[in-house]
Amino acid sequence: MQFSHHIKQFLPRYWTRLLFAMLASLIVVTLISLSFGATPTSFKELVLWLMGESDLQSHIIIQQLRLPRALLALCIGSLLATCGAISQGLFRNPLADPSLIGVSAGASAGASIAIVFLAGAQWSLFSLSLVSMGAFVGGILSVYLVYQIATNTSGTSVSTMLLAGIAIAFIAGGVSNALEFFADNDMLRRMSLWRMGGLDSANTPRVIIAATVAGCIFCLMPHYYSPLNALLLGESEARHLGIDVNRTKRHLVILVAAGVGTSVALAGTIAFIGLVVPHMVRLVIGPNHRFLLPISAFMGALLLLVADAFARTVIAPTEIPVGLVSALLGAPIFISLLRKRHHYGLQE
């Protein structure tokens, strides 16, 4: 209780400084993560690269392989955690997860369709493969369906959205399973690899796409701090506080669909970050979205970056799927927070 008191007192007063500290620590951790990998890179080589004087091999390894991957990890991690925090606020449920509105299952189905039916086609758009595009379209389509099912003349019901999300996820899962049944061995392997998620396809155009989407969401996010704070009280209470509830819900669903859709298309399904990071942050600092969303974004970026560095090095040169690592790293921290929550005075 004392601890969370201090944090809550501290947050508004030192917020700008904290933001700078978070950015600075992200830059430092990103640089450190660049030295991790199948070929160990010394700190000296890293400094030489920074000064533009490294040899060709380290230059290629750092600049063309590891840097895009680290940047993609930052973007995807922050997108997933932010979208998780937004969905938990929108559904007034600390256990909600973006996959609840059907994005992940729809994306998987979209990717499977692309793998099975468009196996021969080779063209791509902005270096996004057909599989990525299939995943994005599948994810967005599922959210659209879920939203339409839950919307009638009197507005959108979030509880119907949750249930519709489960139903759509089942349908999408059925489509994926049916395709697996008909797919040949090569297709099967591609599907299961895609589903495990990973950042190994990182390149500059993908980083640009992820960074653009993340940038847009972070710029729009501050408009929704107060509406989300009010929505936690309940929908009619938020309306009485002057919030246009239906419009807010529509915008937030679009933000979450775009954010999660993009990250699933670029890195497959990486579970856990969207659910647990916001929850962990909320346990420590409380549910005020003004602080919750930016800190979640920071923690999500950090967790995925560290997890990916581990994934690349633990049994190098083989890589472990990053979703596995993020779960194995984050879950113990989360469990220890849950066990200690009475110390924070934040029982739910």
Partner: protein
């Protein structure tokens, strides 16, 4: 050429005018009118109580006025905003003048008491310092100042109720934020002990004296008898009786309204009616 009065300057002095308002809900069995045409006018500083048996339409009336339920016929004007012509963009300026306390709170996120009360200032752009002052004053008034840093989800029912009331009062706290102010309360004394019931009703009375119009649904007829200037009795969605509280709360009226034997006696000290059942 005549200029049409705009939405916001019509009835600007009147916190609430309800004319011939009815509410119809439709389900698979067809349409049911759950509130027959009702009329109600509230001036600044008045306290109005809505009474009636369970299912009489008390909460329906309040929800229709607060905009949670769609009205089928008639008109409602709250602090100058006609609900039928209310645009989405007017919502936030209406929220500066009209606050509503719901019967149940669904909040299950670990906000502190102070943060919950501060949510009441969302419609205003009065600045952090003013808001913090108002939040502090509202908490002190409702006797929850010592709970400011406590986690809302860990409070007792009565403490939660007082926190929510502090929130809606903070929303319409200052006269300078709105020309007329209206506070809608759905059973504000639920979950409160006798001491806090009395304290809360006194606070509401003082709030009304500062010019806030108050419309509240009450279960306890004696609260209406003691504190309301006017009372509206509803039965089966119909206006059963309406007028100054002393004229409405009569033995025969109450007995037929609640279908029970009820006596009304004179309080020797307050000189108000006391309802015994």
């Amino acid at each position: 050429m005549t200029i049409e009065p705009t939405n916001s300057d019509k009835n600007i002095t009147m916190p609430l005018t309800v004319s011939n308002m009815s509410v119809t809900v439709s389900n698979e069995h067809g349409d049911t009118t759950i509130l027959q045409p009702t009329n109600l006018t509230i001036q600044s500083g008045e306290i109005h109580a809505i009474i009636g048996p369970n299912g009489a339409g008390k909460s329906t009336l309040l929800k229709a006025i607060s905009g949670d339920l769609k009205i089928s016929t008639g008109d409602v004007t709250c602090c100058g905003y006609n609900l039928r012509q209310l645009q989405a963009r007017d919502q936030s300026s209406k929220a500066k003048a009209v606050a509503a306390l719901p019967q149940f709170s669904l909040l299950n996120f670990p906000y502190t008491v102070e943060e919950v009360v501060a949510l009441g200032r969302i419609p205003h752009n009065s600045g952090q310092r003013v808001d913090a002052q108002i939040v502090g004053d509202a908490m002190d008034l409702l006797d929850i100042g010592t709970l400011a840093k406590r986690n809302y989800t860990q409070l007792s029912g009565g403490e939660k109720q007082r926190t929510q009331l502090a929130r809606v009062m903070a929303q319409v706290w200052r006269a300078q934020d709105a020309t007329t102010r209206l506070l809608l309360l759905d059973e504000p004394t639920t979950a409160l002990d006798l001491g806090h019931q009395q304290q809360l009703m006194k606070i509401i009375q003082d709030f009304a004296k500062q010019g806030v119009a108050i419309l509240m649904v009450v279960h306890d007829i004696n609260l209406a008898a003691n504190y309301a200037d006017y009372t509206l009795a509803l039965s089966n969605g119909n206006t059963f009786r309406q007028g100054p509280t002393a004229d409405v709360l009569k033995e025969d009226m109450l007995s037929s309204l609640f279908d029970a034997s009820i006596s009304v006696i004179h309080h020797p000290i307050t000189h108000k009616s006391v309802v015994l059942s």
